[in-house]
Every structure is written in structure tokens, then in C-alpha cells.
């Protein structure tokens, strides 16, 4: 069992994610540089946060067109659990693995703060340990985190139960306060907030237990006993 954390030039939450996966939740993980091949023996993929390619052109767009993403797409089709956090979410959207777009926050500024999100789908590989509507104190940090989709797409997201997390407060102008979504099949999840910054009590000013459940869900999915 292995989790691949894919590192692009400019990724900057890769080491944080690796630490939480491997040291805190004992999930065997590997940092995979974007030009290297995906290891054969992986069971899950995480696209971490950061500024891949310095957010040039548009956040996530260059990384979304890199060769490793075509491999990620193949794995997505095979049903492998894939999580994109922050810039990782932006990449998944730009790659067409998830619908919609991520726009500049309505404040036009980068926002780094603690907030709460609400679990709206507890069937995904990353949320199966949650109760529906459970709240998660979590850190956000982004400049282009406002989820946007047209009305038709939003309807579909609702109909297919693709809205995974919503913000408990108005934060950046996101459509339907969406903080995270999944694909139709539910195996590919993207979220703007940072679970890897929120799952250890020493750095979480509120309660780290709920955010931990994201990683415990993955343990559960992969059949790892904590």
C-alpha cells in the first residue's frame, strides 16, 4: 500500500502532506517528482498545495498539462482514490477531472485563516468516517479559492451528490459556499482547505479530531488499521 504525493515545481505543501500521511497516520507515502514515473504499487494519489509553476498563466493550468497528469487520469478512471488540496484542487479542475473553475476570492486578496467546513458527502474515500453534516475546523490559504460553476453544473453536482464540503460561513464568494467536490464516481476529491494543516492538535487552535477523519477515512478505504 502506498500513497503517491506528486511534486510539481512550485508545490510547497508536499512535505507537509508527506509528514501527515506517513508520520501521523502511518500511511506509507512517497514524494514523486513530476518528471518521474508513477510507482507501480500505489493505491492512492495526493496532489498537494502550493504554487505549481508559480501560478503562471492561471493557478494549476500548467501542471494540469504535464505528462504525469495523463497518468493520474488513467488511475482516476480505474477508480483509484485521488485527493487534490488547494493548488491540487486547482490542477484537478484544470485537468478536467473535476468540473467548474476556481476564481480569485471576492476580496481579491489571499486569505489565510481558520474556518469550518461541513461534510455534505460521506461516501468518498476521504470522508467515509464522517457523519453527514459534521463540521471540520480547518485552515484555508489561497488567493484563487472561489469555486465557480454555471447553474447547470451546480444542479448536476447536487443531483449526483458531488458536493463534498461547504463552508459554514461566507468566506470567498464560492458558488453555494462550495469548499470541495468530487467526480461522479466519487473517487476523485478536490478541496481548497488544508487538511494536512489541521490534523495535529498542536497546530490546530480549535479541534484537530475532525480533520484527522479525512486521513482516517483514507486509512479505512485502503484497509489500514490505525
Amino acid at each position: 500500500m502506498k500513497v503517491a504525493v506528486i511534486v510539481f515545481p512550485g508545490s510547497n505543501c508536499d512535505r507537509d502532506m508527506y509528514h501527515v500521511l506517513s508520520d501521523v497516520f502511518k500511511l506509507e507515502s512517497k514524494l514523486v517528482w513530476h518528471t518521474d514515473l508513477l510507482p507501480k504499487d500505489i493505491d492512492a494519489i495526493v496532489l498537494p498545495g502550493g504554487f505549481s509553476y508559480g501560478d503562471r498563466l492561471r493557478a494549476g493550468v500548467i501542471a494540469a498539462h504535464s505528462p504525469v497528469i495523463s497518468e493520474v487520469k488513467k488511475m482516476a478512471e480505474r477508480g483509484m482514490p485521488i485527493l487534490g488540496v488547494c493548488n491540487g484542487f486547482q490542477i484537478l479542475v484544470e485537468a478536467g477531472l473535476l468540473p467548474g473553475a476556481l476564481l480569485k476570492n471576492t476580496s481579491l486578496s489571499f486569505i489565510c485563516k481558520w474556518t469550518e467546513i461541513i461534510v455534505k458527502n460521506n461516501k468518498t474515500p476521504f470522508t467515509n468516517k464522517f457523519k453527514l453534516n459534521q463540521r471540520i475546523p480547518i485552515a484555508i490559504a489561497n488567493g484563487e479559492g472561489r469555486y465557480y460553476a454555471d447553474d447547470e453544473t451546480l444542479k448536476q453536482l447536487k443531483r449526483n451528490n458531488q458536493i463534498v464540503f461547504t463552508y459554514a460561513e461566507e468566506i470567498n464568494g464560492a458558488s453555494m459556499r462550495i469548499a470541495g467536490i468530487c467526480n461522479k464516481e466519487g473517487n476523485v476529491v478536490g478541496m481548497m482547505p488544508h487538511p494536512e494543516r489541521s490534523a495535529e492538535q498542536i497546530i490546530n487552535p480549535r479541534n484537530a479530531k475532525p480533520a484527522s477523519l479525512i486521513f482516517e477515512s483514507l486509512q479505512n478505504t485502503l484497509g489500514v488499521t490505525a
Binding site: S109, I111, H194
Partner: protein, 721 residues
């Protein structure tokens, strides 16, 4: 932008001939005040630099402190004032980039940034507001992209910074002691330039920064590219892991001229290089432009022949441009060629060591006049005064600023910005507490006591998190040193800092001097900035939720010292009087007892009492905890003072502790034993911030109203143009 006649004569004598134009450019860059410290170097020797945790090495660009278990912390501070005053976004951003590379130079990973920002009166001056907003954005865009958290800092507004900006950036690094770069070089080693390409930006930047800011010189401002910097960080750290780096230096002020001459001089070797080999972003650059360009995101690395191919492979893997520009030679000469032609040949010892100056220092006349300032009268409605003070940009919450900075990346930030000091967890289960403090208003009134006060305040802030101060960095910012009155204030501040550092046994592990901070309206107020690092061996004091009936304990004496206070200057427009002074003995005793109470788990919350005095400090605790309080002014340990003086004097060495009723007796007996001045001045309760003089309520304001003012004032001010 050139040498003075005596300097020219000195150079000629040293090299035994007339320098050619390229040589002159190289020397002029390196002998600028900014690079050579020619005015300040003689005086800086008085700072204590030794300490049991201090690790020193040749040519380190940052201070190194041993934090045990085989780990070190590195720290450095720099400013980017002139560029930020002209182009605040790029100036502030490249300020971050430069100091980060100093941390990288030691072979450590940058783990935190703190910034100190100073501008004119943003309430009235829209230009100051523009500078402020864009400097913040520059820091945010750069630091956020790098993935180095901006965990703290401080901001001050004062009319003396009109049409100007002070942008100070401190950076912290962390790493294994065994991985520190032990700078050394041998003849035959390769000299490699790694990172961003060299262009015409920042030409003459160090000389630009070594003169009064009277004309805007945009070409002297550097252009930021955080993406390249991020790639450089990862490539350099990988090269360090694979032992490919024998010596390393950041390219900052003075560009290659400075990096080459200082490296050769520090390592006692010669260096020869061919400027045609440098990777450039512009055509037809002249050799002197290439030597003095301050293009950013560049590192100079010395590696041996054997490791060169590994180093090249690492750079290619991380998509970092590089060029092998020369080699190390025996002897001590720096030789610059354009292909085969030698265009400069100078002893590096001469280039790296400008002739030092003896500047005249005379006590400024203004100091006599401001002593005569009349005390303003007490306002009738002190509740209103407190509310105004909470909305004062110098006091109001800085959340508008720090929410734009990623302060969480790296998952080390235990105590976040907005608190007294910020706390980072380290890999050896210890914690590092960091804070920078400055106060131009106090330093103007008394440059020595003001500087000591900044030092004391920074120490108090780290002590409030349960940390013992282990090292400091200073950044001495003054006007034109050729003015004897300015130079006197520099010397006074430096002596004050030295006095404090020696008394408390806190070594100075790095620093910077920035002079010529002066515009057409005159010099800035003296603005020494002090950064203090504190170490927490077991656990930090993470503030606990305050409950009804918790006690408010004030440690330290409250004195009639309102000169330079926010109360005098903001409320009464009064500059003058007596500024706060530090009694070292009682300050030390207060620090010790606060640390003792924290270590015995008797404290729920510790808060430093500084800007805005007790009135503001108490309000801040109430606002953060959304609880009221009743404070009895007659319980404050103080001489006979007026009510407004008790409330708003900024006397140093004072701490506000919140103590659970069940611990108050224990705390009292420890405080009595230590023999410090203290008072149990009140309790938290209700939903009003209330101060009583005897039975009379002199202040009563609702916590939610105060919170609204304090939290939102700065944000609403800047969002309106």
C-alpha cells in the same frame, strides 16, 4: 555613485596604479555604505557575539544558534527601504527574497519570515496608504509562493516616514548542524552562478540605497520572481544533501562584485571568472553592468571538479538555470575576464574592505527642546479615548495584513500572528519563539532608552510564550550618517542595545545597518529594530480560554513616562516628555518570575504591556476572549500618577497575567518570594471593559463594540482608497 576623492586615493595607493573604469564600478559597489558598513563597522564591534549556543563560521550570511539534539536555527534580518519607497510591491518582495537566500546560504531551510513595516500617516496620507497596501501585497505574493510562512512582525505609522517606507524582513532557518555549509575552497574548485538570469535590474542598487532618497531611481529596483527562488531553494538543499557545496553566498547588494570579493576574502583564496559565461536575460550588457547588477534569485556556489556534474544534474532536475563562470585560484586576487581579455584584476582583500570612516557625533539640539513639552490635560471622557486608541492604526489589530500572508505552510506555526510572539515547533520537540520590535517614537525622544525598550519588548513577547531568549538580531535604521546629530543617535542606540545584550547575556547573532533613510523632509526618526529568538524546551504557553472571575495580575511598575506614547502622539499630537526607561535589574526579575509561573502551569494567558499601555493591553485580552473585566486602578503598582497616565503610559518590563482563582495563592507566594512589584488589579467578568478609580467607574465600554473597532479599523481604512 562613485568613490570619494580620499577613497580613490586610498584605492590607488593600495593597488599601486590607477583603477580602470570596470574596476572602479566594482569597488564603488562594494565600498558603498550599504555593502561596506564604512560608517558603522568600527562601532558595531561593541556588540557581544559570543554565547554557548552560537555557532560561527567564515563568511556566514546568517547567525547560527545550536538548539540541541544536532539541530541549528539560523536567523537574519535585512531591509529594503529605498526600493520599497519607490516601488513598494517589488521592493518588499525582493526584500523577502534576499533574506531568505541568506538563510539558504548556511545550508538551512527557511521556515519563517517576520516583517516590520513603517509608513507615513495612513489616516491622512493616501500615498502612505498606497505604499502600505502594495508592500503588504509584495510580501504576501512572494512569501506565499515560496511556501515560507510569514508568522509575525510589527507595523508602525509615523509622519517621519512620509514619502518613505521601512520594510524590514527577518527570516528563520532550521536544519541539522552536520549539514551546515562549512565555507571553504581550494584552488581549482569551480565557481557556479545558480538561479535567475542576470539583467539590468538593480544596477547600482547598493549605491542608490547609500544616499538620501531625493530622486526616484527605478532602474535601481530589483524585479521579484518567487517561483525561481522556490526552485533555487529546493535545488540548493538537494545539492547540500549530496555534499556538492563547499561554499555558498547569496547575491545581494553589489551583485557579483560583492559576492566574489567577499567570498574570496573570507576564504583567503583568489577567484577568476569570465563574465561572458554568465546566463543573461538581456543582450549587450557591459562587463561592469554584469558585475554590479542586483538581479534577484541568484546564488554563488563553490564546488569541486568531481561534484560539478552532480550539481549540474541537480540544477537541471529542478529546472534551475546555472552557469560555471570561473574557478578558485591560489593567491588572493579577483580577476574578471571578458572571454580572454582581463578587464579587472584586484586584490579581493582591498575590494572587500573599504577604508572605514570616523564620523562625527553630536547630541541633537531637538532633544533639549522636546524635554520642555507641556503635559496635555486629561480628557473628560476616557471611554471615548480608549475607543479611539483601539482604532489607532498603530494599535488596531493587524489582521488585514496577516490574513494575506500564508502563516501556516510548513505546519510548524503553533502560536499564530496576532499574538505577542509567534511560536514554531522544531523537529526535536522543542519550540522556537520569535518576535521583532521597534519603536521610532520612543527612540526619537531617547535613542538609547528607546532602543533598550525595543529589546526589552521583544524579550517580553517571547517570555509571554514561555521562552527563554537565546539570541538577537538588530537592524539599525537611521538617516544620513554624515549629519553628526544623526550619527549621535545611531551610536546611542547601538550602545543601549549592547548594554542590554550584555546584561541579559543575549548574544547578537546578526544584524544590519541601514543609513541614509532620509527624504527631502529630513531624516527618519531613529528606528533600531530588534529581533529576539527564544527557546522553549518543553511546551509553549498556548493561551487558554479565560473564564468569569479569572484574576488579572500586573507585574512591573507603572511610571510617569508618556513621552513617545501613542496616547501623547495620537490623542494629543504631543511629541516630547520623558520616554520609558528600563531598569535592567527589575526587568530581569520580572522575566524570571513570569517564566517560573508559566513553567508551573499557573498562568492561563500572558500578555506584554506596551503600545497604548495598560488600557489597551487589558482591552486586547478582553477582545480576544470576548469577556469583560473590572480593573481597579488603585491596585496598580505605581507612583502617584494621573488616571490617564496610569492607563496609557508605556512603561516597560510589565506583564499582564491571567490566573485561575485556584492558582492565585500559589502565584502570589511565588511573586512575593521573587520580590517583584505586582498587583492583582482586577477580574474578568461581564461584557464591559471597566476601569475603576476607587468606586468611580472611569471607563466602561462594551467588549463587542471595542472588538469591532479594534478588529476592523485598519481594514476599513485601507479598503477606502
Amino acid at each position: 555613485m562613485s568613490l570619494t576623492p580620499p577613497e580613490f586615493g586610498y584605492l590607488e595607493k593600495k593597488i599601486g596604479r590607477k583603477p580602470n573604469p570596470v574596476e572602479l564600478q566594482i569597488v564603488a559597489a562594494e565600498w558603498s555604505e550599504h555593502c561596506s558598513y564604512k560608517s558603522s563597522k568600527k562601532h558595531l564591534k561593541i556588540l557581544p557575539r559570543e554565547g554557548k549556543r552560537v555557532v560561527s563560521g567564515p563568511g556566514y550570511d546568517s547567525g547560527v544558534l545550536d538548539v540541541g539534539d544536532g539541530y541549528v536555527v539560523t536567523v537574519h534580518i535585512e531591509s529594503h527601504n529605498h526600493p520599497s519607497a519607490v516601488e513598494p510591491y517589488g521592493g518588499a518582495a525582493t526584500g523577502v527574497g534576499g533574506v531568505i537566500r541568506d538563510i539558504l546560504s548556511a545550508g538551512t531551510r527557511p521556515i519563517a519570515i517576520l516583517d516590520g513595516l513603517r509608513f507615513g500617516d495612513i489616516e491622512k496620507d493616501t500615498h502612505a496608504r498606497w505604499l502600505f497596501k502594495n508592500a503588504v501585497r509584495g510580501i504576501a505574493d512572494y512569501g506565499n509562493c515560496l511556501g515560507v510562512p510569514t508568522v509575525g512582525g510589527e507595523i508602525e505609522f509615523d509622519r517621519c516616514f512620509t514619502n518613505y517606507a521601512l520594510v524590514d524582513v527577518a527570516a528563520i532557518g532550521f536544519g541539522k548542524k552536520e549539514k551546515l555549509i562549512r565555507n571553504h575552497a581550494d584552488a581549482g574548485d569551480c565557481v557556479v552562478l545558480i538561479g535567475g538570469s542576470t539583467g539590468r535590474d538593480g544596477i547600482g542598487g547598493s549605491q542608490f540605497a547609500s544616499d538620501k532618497l531625493e530622486a526616484e531611481n527605478r532602474s535601481a529596483v530589483q524585479i521579484p520572481d518567487p517561483f525561481i527562488e522556490k526552485l533555487v531553494i529546493e535545488a540548493i538543499l538537494e545539492a547540500r544533501n549530496q555534499n556538492c557545496i563547499k561554499a555558498m553566498k547569496d547575491l545581494g547588494g553589489g551583485g557579483l562584485s560583492c559576492a566574489i570579493s567577499e567570498t574570496a576574502d573570507a576564504l583567503s583564496v583568489g577567484i577568476e571568472l569570465d563574465v561572458s559565461l554568465i546566463h543573461k536575460r538581456e543582450e549587450n550588457m557591459s562587463p561592469s553592468e554584469l558585475m554590479v547588477s542586483e538581479s534577484q534569485e541568484r546564488m554563488l556556489v563553490i564546488t569541486d571538479q568531481e561534484k560539478l556534474s552532480t550539481l549540474k544534474r541537480i540544477c537541471e532536475r529542478f529546472h534551475v538555470p546555472y552557469s560555471v563562470i570561473g574557478s578558485v585560484t591560489s593567491g588572493s586576487v579577483m580577476e574578471v575576464r571578458l572571454e580572454k581579455e582581463v578587464i579587472a584584476r584586484l586584490p579581493s582583500e582591498v575590494v572587500a574592505n573599504a577604508p572605514l570612516l570616523d564620523r562625527l557625533a553630536i547630541q541633537p539640539k531637538y532633544l533639549e527642546n522636546i524635554k520642555l513639552t507641556q503635559k496635555p490635560s486629561t480628557p473628560e471622557n476616557l471611554s471615548e479615548t480608549l475607543m479611539k486608541m483601539l482604532a489607532n492604526p498603530n494599535i488596531a489589530s493587524k489582521q488585514w495584513v496577516y490574513t494575506q500572508y500564508d502563516h501556516e505552510v510548513g505546519i510548524r506555526t503553533v502560536i499564530k500572528p496576532g499574538s505577542d510572539a509567534s511560536v514554531l515547533r522544531l523537529d526535536n520537540n522543542k519550540f522556537l519563539s520569535v518576535k521583532i520590535d521597534g519603536n521610532s517614537k520612543h527612540c526619537y525622544i531617547n535613542p538609547r532608552q528607546g532602543a533598550i525598550g525595543c529589546f526589552d519588548e521583544a524579550c517580553r513577547n517571547v517570555v509571554c510564550t514561555g521562552a527563554v531568549p537565546i539570541g538577537m538580531v538588530d537592524h539599525l535604521q537611521f538617516g544620513n550618517p554624515e549629519d553628526p546629530e544623526v550619527f549621535w543617535t545611531f551610536k546611542e542606540s547601538l550602545e543601549g542595545i549592547t548594554q542590554y545584550a550584555k546584561y541579559f547575556g543575549i548574544p547578537c547573532v546578526g544584524g544590519k545597518v541601514s543609513l541614509y533613510n532620509q527624504t527631502n523632509i529630513g531624516p527618519i526618526k531613529p528606528t533600531p529594530l530588534i529581533g529576539v529568538l527564544g527557546l522553549i524546551e518543553t511546551k509553549p504557553l498556548i493561551p487558554k480560554k479565560i473564564q468569569e472571575n479569572d484574576f488579572v495580575v500586573l507585574i512591573g511598575e507603572t511610571k510617569d513616562e508618556l513621552g513617545g506614547s501613542e496616547y501623547y502622539e495620537y490623542m494629543h499630537d504631543t511629541i516630547g516628555g520623558k520616554c520609558p526607561t528600563v531598569n535592567m535589574e527589575s526587568s530581569k526579575a520580572n522575566q524570571e518570575i513570569v517564566l517560573e509561573l508559566i513553567s508551573q502551569d499557573l498562568v492561563k494567558n500572558a500578555h506584554d504591556c506596551s503600545k497604548g499601555g495598560l488600557g489597551v493591553a487589558v482591552s486586547e485580552i478582553c477582545i480576544r476572549n470576548e469577556i469583560g473585566c473590572v480593573i481597579s486602578l488603585d491596585k496598580i503598582p505605581a507612583q502617584k500618577l494621573r488616571i490617564d497616565e496610569l492607563l496609557f503610559t508605556e512603561s516597560h518590563s510589565r506583564y499582564l497575567l491571567t490566573i485561575d482563582p485556584k492558582n492565585i495563592e500559589n502565584a502570589k507566594s511565588l511573586l512575593e518570594k521573587q520580590g517583584v512589584a505586582y498587583g492583582i488589579i482586577g477580574k474578568f467578568s461581564g461584557s464591559n471593559i471597566a476601569f475603576k478609580d476607587g468606586n468611580k467607574r472611569v471607563i466602561s465600554v462594551r467588549v463587542d463594540k471595542a472588538q469591532e473597532r479594534w478588529l476592523n479599523s485598519l481594514g476599513s481604512l485601507v479598503s477606502h482608497g
